[in-house]
Subunit: 437 residues, 2 copies
Amino acid sequence: MERTITRDAHLHVGKTIEVKGWLHKKRLLGGLTFINVRDRAGLVQVVIKDKDEVEKLRGLQVGTVLAVSGQVTSEERAPGGAELHDAKITVLVPVTDEPPIEIDKPLGHKPDNLETLFDNRVIGLRNLQERAIFEIQATVTKSIRSHFDAHHFTEMHTPKLLAEATEGGAEVFTLDYFGKIATLAQSPQFYKQMMVGVFERAYEIAPVYRAEASATTRHMTEYTSVDGEMGFITLEDLKSFLSGLLNAVVDEVWAAHEPELKRWNTTKPVLPAEIPTISMAEIHEKYSKATGENSVGEKDLRPDEERWICEYAKKNLGSEAVFVSEWPASEMKFYHKANEQNPEIADRVDLLFRGVEITTGSMRENVYAKVVQQLKDLAHGDPEDPGFLPLLNAMRYGMPPHGGFGLGLERLTQKLIGLNNVKEATLFPRDINRLAP
Amino acid sequence: MERTITRDAHLHVGKTIEVKGWLHKKRLLGGLTFINVRDRAGLVQVVIKDKDEVEKLRGLQVGTVLAVSGQVTSEERAPGGAELHDAKITVLVPVTDEPPIEIDKPLGHKPDNLETLFDNRVIGLRNLQERAIFEIQATVTKSIRSHFDAHHFTEMHTPKLLAEATEGGAEVFTLDYFGKIATLAQSPQFYKQMMVGVFERAYEIAPVYRAEASATTRHMTEYTSVDGEMGFITLEDLKSFLSGLLNAVVDEVWAAHEPELKRWNTTKPVLPAEIPTISMAEIHEKYSKATGENSVGEKDLRPDEERWICEYAKKNLGSEAVFVSEWPASEMKFYHKANEQNPEIADRVDLLFRGVEITTGSMRENVYAKVVQQLKDLAHGDPEDPGFLPLLNAMRYGMPPHGGFGLGLERLTQKLIGLNNVKEATLFPRDINRLAP
């Protein structure tokens, strides 16, 4: 099954090798025909002199599938530092239709051509710079899993088909389930907490669904959620875990994809081993003082404030990420835990990275009587509701102090690469207006 | 964040350590109180002499969350070969309600108590033998990913929300999508093929949805599908890849979980490096001869035939898995590829393992004109249908010979452990009658 792939061509200088791939570019230069052949590893340049060989490509378009054999010659200016000479071409699958989108030069990513980009995704992803986004995303995923594994988490698969919506009300998709109503999971929140009672540390990387009725650069109706939950920890432990996670992702992604990341004009994020923490009150105060806008006393951060504090942390704390702590307890979800010393604040941190929140982490209320009370008080929920009962039973039959987080894989990829819209970091994005391709 | 976990207790003989976990069992023996404490790694036995310490546990039930410190003493009969003496108990979270299901002895897995098992899943999974199923499943997943990685596949995340059902008609869930109709993906089939044009080799492990209206031991409405697709391969390459994959899974799972697998009374599957292949016609012939049942000429295997041929291969070919080849072309899906030498058969193999099909692998028709024709002839589909257009465009703009497979993670786990019902190998199973917990 193995054959020479384009990336390895330079290992065979002086020898004749065969590569298989797609015609990516064709041009005439000084009487010679140059083609680039693309495969899973990259590009190789092929120089064709022989008129009969050139003839084989007549009328064929980019995308034509080829086997090309030739002698490997060092050539600094060629991709990979080598090119194939005296090439013999075998056309495996001819393409005669011109592709709907040019793939051998950077595709535009301006707001007003994104829809065209997504409409032509199937072919557009053959562009190497586009493809790199998702190769980077695969490395992000892999490094996240390694970090979970190294910390003894068990991977799990929880159902996305649920009987009722338990979190948030409006933004839930419902479907006909053999005459009953089912909903699509907005998060594995309750399952990951319940599984702390089983695995102690559990994680899942899987799709979640939000019936987001607005088309924004930040929201999609389906995305890949990275969820982790740990027992026997404190909020400080959770912060350490997340600091380690983001550092590991950044290091592994840069080690594997530095050239591609540079082509996207992004820099390696500066991050200390432990990401700094600033309380919400302190952010409001600093921001108000610096900008003249008064946010003091507000119960959330303004989007502009998120950007501002990230700039502040980058300049003053040497960190492109920052934890926001001391969220008001009045904004808690019913399963969140209030701080024991100061019940006015929640044991929650949001992790901001390059101007946006990429994850919310919190400790969960693990005492049965308290979580039942919070369900009634904060969510006006019924403890006998079958949507809540499994979570409450986990507490009733013994749950340790625990906490966890959820993180959007596409948003993290977006911020690492420096893309403006989360959909650019999504293979086939879904929003209110888009269900295809 | 790290502390001593039960599995490591024996490393500290003579020292005093602290473990945190759940009260798993309590009994009195010869005037002493013995408790088992469970954590993510297993169990440790604790011997309590001090009356004040025993008193702390009065009235508390299994599930109570504890911190226990004690001196580590070698004890062959204790789990892990060590126990804690002179224990000091701290009750972190008391549990006073008796659990709905006993978790310190094997739970029944008889057909008529499975519903009770699933109703009590949240607590029942705290049973170590139940938990082991999903620890094994996590290792299955990890070894599959390693195998994909080693063969240069790119991991991807494709959407499960689709505009229309493209594969199979009836068994599709539909939902209201902002006033339009959306469907839930039954498989990432078209996406994985399209992504061969981008990554050449792509894989995904994610949920898929089937509106299966019947309650059987084999079908669920949601399961985890392992999908892989490769370009520039032959059917023989695909068989080699699958042989390597199943061998890798078996070896890694047995290396990591032999004691748990033995407790489930299963044996390590016997598998040669290359799994043997038998044609469908030959199976029909052998089966008919051996059993007196006549299946010759049938276009599929009977369930009993699948079991029989697996027994046959185990006895005569030294393999608990077998590829079934030479499927009739008349049974092809429109995207399948007919054999070039013999267009009466499809380039497809089913992989049977321990009596059931665990994966279907096939080569795909990659020539644009042919796949358009097959869509019309075999599926009565319209090439302009937006549900088919992206796949057809991939072919139109150049696709190499390619093939792939889909494999149900839960079914593979089930057969490795020797469970009767696929739902036993599913954390929270979903079928026509079950949407909770």
